[in-house]
Symmetry: D2
Subunit: 330 residues, 4 copies
């Protein structure tokens, strides 16, 4: 069993998560790590792996079979194009890009090169959602999808500034989840506001939103987002249809129930995405390996990435105009 030789592009918070998972993943061998900023601990933690600052150096290395791109969103399209031209398989963090014309250019490059491409909508690979997805036929005809997706606290304003806004940065996960569960989206409408911190409006952003989607099969979805649920990261989904409902619940930081003289108390939801979705980052790489090694279908495709961006951009338009926006197909 030969291992897939992979390079990690960008060694920030998420790049480190991937490094840890890849280090013990029997399908992969990390042969290079690339970041413009040198990490002080990397040499000690992984003395055998070359750390480079130049992405071209990675692409020029014939031993590299695949790249894992975790750079800021705006760099995704050009880095995808370069990797595709170099014949490398690509795993790219979400979203696939911020501008649709650039995204479509990258999409064409990948198709032309014929390399494997998987997008990192990691929640698709969470055990809860894999279970519901696998059992979705149990609900019969899909009718109503409800997604609650709330972060535990406002991000720094500095982050907000470059985030692309609530829809592109946060709700895009939920829009992808909606498509994953119920299929192609037809229209989007949205309401939202700066209910938590008005300072966010200086970046033309909101912190709270309710988005309604309609699907080509007639079903509907509602996504409610908040940047700050004081009780913790709230990630719930209900899929309702003609034969019943499938739902998950939050994962708590502990499993203890305390019955006291005042209240019955249970644990809070796990802190944030790195805790709640930890395993999904590992699972998505298993699917990626499976597509490269066994030609298995891509579990989260470039097309999925494009559609999610289209919905997010339309949600913003719907919010501003108060109109229902139709989603164009690729």
């Amino acid at each position: 069993m030969t291992k897939i030789k992979i390079a990690i592009i960008s060694y920030g918070r998420i790049g480190k998560v991937h490094m840890k998972n890849l280090a013990i993943n029997p399908d992969f061998e990390v042969v290079m790590v690339c970041d413009i900023i040198e990490d002080p601990d990397f040499k000690e933690d992984y003395p055998a792996i070359p750390f480079v600052k130049d992405y071209d150096e990675v692409l020029a290395n014939p031993a590299v079979e695949a790249v894992l791109i975790g750079t800021p969103t705006k760099f995704h399209p050009s880095q995808i194009i370069a990797a595709a031209k170099a014949g490398k398989h690509i795993f790219c963090e979400k979203p696939v890009g911020s501008e649709l014309d650039e995204i479509m250019e990258a999409y064409e490059a990948v198709k032309e090169a014929g390399v494997k491409f998987q997008l990192g909508f990691n929640r698709r690979f969470d055990d809860d959602f894999l279970n519901i997805k696998a059992r979705i036929a149990e609900i019969g005809e899909p009718q109503i999808l409800k997604i609650t997706s709330r972060d535990p606290g406002m991000p720094p304003l500095d982050y907000v500034k470059g985030s692309g806004g609530l829809f592109m940065d946060m709700a895009i996960h939920d829009f992808d989840m909606a498509r994953y569960m119920f299929g192609e989206v037809k229209t989007v409408s949205a309401k939202g506001g700066a209910l938590i911190d008005p300072a966010i409006t200086q970046y033309d952003d909101i912190d709270t939103a309710i988005t309604t989607l309609t699907f080509e099969n007639g079903a509907m979805a509602v996504v409610d987002n908040s940047r700050q649920a004081v009780y913790g990261y709230d990630q719930r989904l209900e899929a309702f249809g003609s034969k019943g409902m499938l739902a998950n619940s939050n994962h708590t930081d502990h499993n203890t129930i305390f019955s006291g003289s005042d209240h019955i108390q249970s644990g809070k939801p796990q802190l944030f995405f790195l805790e709640r979705y930890l395993k999904s980052y590992d699972t998505e790489l298993k699917f990626f390996a499976d597509s490269i090694k066994n030609n298995a279908p891509i579990a989260c495709s470039f097309e999925d990435g494009i559609m999610a961006v289209k919905i997010a951009k339309s949600a913003k338009e719907a919010l501003v105009t108060g109109q229902t926006i139709a989603i164009e197909k690729i």
Copy 2:
């Protein structure tokens, strides 16, 4: 302690529920029951209570201090006006009427007569919602309200025909609940369709809807309605704000959990509104008595009834036009 002498107008399904509650309510004495169709069992069940067919006979009876109106919606305004002119206190089932001009006329008549008027949005008087309402300050600034309101099965098409449609017949309870919890509604948007039974479209109606409300304080609400949840009557509410979330859960038909070789199984939600909200029909009469006897504030006012109708009518308009509709004040 003298009892309030009350007459029940209309002795159908809900009239019988009220009769049973009033019969053992220490604050009321039922002195007349009125329906155009004679009930075969009434004489035997309540031999001491006169049963009449003519509403005028009720109003002409000086012993009658209050009427409980449970007739079809279209009769409400004229019956309210007549009762008000006769100086009777009025408890009227929801909705207060179907046409806004008639409703406003009745509203003026009640104000002029100075009689007490309470509307039967019984869910306000349910223990769950009373508890959440009483504790609403615990969530801090209100931000997101989510109401799931699904019936256990499609009503007969014959019922649908005269029902006023999903928004006026069913969602109106949820719109009132939204105002009860979060205050005055500013706008409404809606999506919906005939996902359960296309036959419903012949009456220009839908069976599934997602309605988004915005409030004057900036908060938002989403109501999802379905005429058919195969697992039973689904009635849940989540009130989310800057300091936390208050939520209730469904009431089940039993409290037993069976752990078997295949699954862990618990009870289904109680069948329908007469089971789930049984106690609320009793509680709302206690509030009504309190307003008559002790001049306590009306717990569900004429104005509440008008606003709920306005929102329901606007939701229909929003559905048809795809627009966000602003709600006019009284």
Copy 3:
């Protein structure tokens, strides 16, 4: 449909509960109430019902068909005998008596008179336990029964003094429940102590106990009792067998879950037995009426009462001797 004419013997806390239920029960008519202490409100509350101080007056009244005995335990056997001799049907609060010889004498008197006799182990008539009992075959061969039965707070020492002790006063309900669910008890063992308040030892009593029962079919049960669960009245049962487990959970004082920055909080168990088992006091009377009117089998028989006392007395013996005590049959 003629009503059963019943007299209530003892108008204390539990007598009042029965009076309220009987007043609106279509099967019964309360024709007398008897207590040695006159209740100040009774006359006003029930002006039409004669209140007497002499039990003999009740028995001498030919209109009285049945008596409901709610006096202190020590009076039960003689009052049962007198009622049986007078040909009255008998509903008697638990326990049936405190001394076995007296109890057996009363038992013979009831058999001889041929009157109906039902004992007030009200928990048998609770919806939760009725549901589990009705479904007990779902667990296959019964193997392990677990009953948690904890009061919300220590009773006054004065009550403890005359209570008969934890086993006779409190655990006797659980011993009856064990027989109700799993059948005839073969042996009993017990451990216990005064862990809450050592003052209880002056009355040779305990406040905390773990009792193990074995059944004739080989199954086993464990009952854990505490006089003080600070979080409220804890009443749970698990019936485990070869095909699965049936379990109930506590009823809470409200159905709201609050998710806050510190904890997720839900309601406490309902305060005590009058709240938790309120409906069972009504249901048991329906069964009693059914046995009188329709000759339906007695739902909680004299024999059930005798066996519960035998187990309770043996539990005390087991506690003192450290031995396993065999239960003698009637």
Copy 4:
């Protein structure tokens, strides 16, 4: 940071779990694996690690600092003694031995050698129980401990034969847990039988038991064991005291709730101990490393192992004699 050089003794089911955990544990380096039966896959899986058949070869290797003993119980004492004499730190699977005289001899050897010794009562290191243990003061004075511990299915009779019986093989975990939570045990009583499979009696064993413990502080515990819960591995604990109760619940194989027309269904408990307690096998090694490297207190000591064996043996005696057995101290 130098790694602790450890050898795994016995490469069966549990040895492989430890090998996997140690392979990615930064505190350890596996330098040898020893088993009398060669594992066919080992060479390929871990080509760099020597696999030997002779335990003496391990002990003779000066590079080996610690041994992890996972052999059958009867070999534990002699292997502990040999390791101690060789100056190796010892991690030993539970139980520490089957005969008390051998166990005590090994105990003396370990004390004399001054090596670190940790016993593998892995449940102490489960997140649920670590959480309850850490918060045990929240319940105030401990009063009642309830442990439900049921396996998902009868083991093969061949396993039963050499298992030491239900108390030594299975309940011993629960007896250790009881001591871990509530402190030193004073007496034990037990009831049990062959309710699942009578064939087990040929090995003088039982498959179902209820064991009652009393503690030196007056508190009590009850442990109920079954070899076969058809719904899965049932592992629950409730610690009840003067200020409240701490309890955990089972971990389910998935987090999805399906609401259907018949039932509300949730996931079953995880299959068995390797699933339920997977993480604890990793955590216990972290504690072991901490004791070796930083001289941290032993988290599960030799004394803990001795006491658990004493309780298990006394439970058997209690079962046979029907007596309450006092536990002798070390």
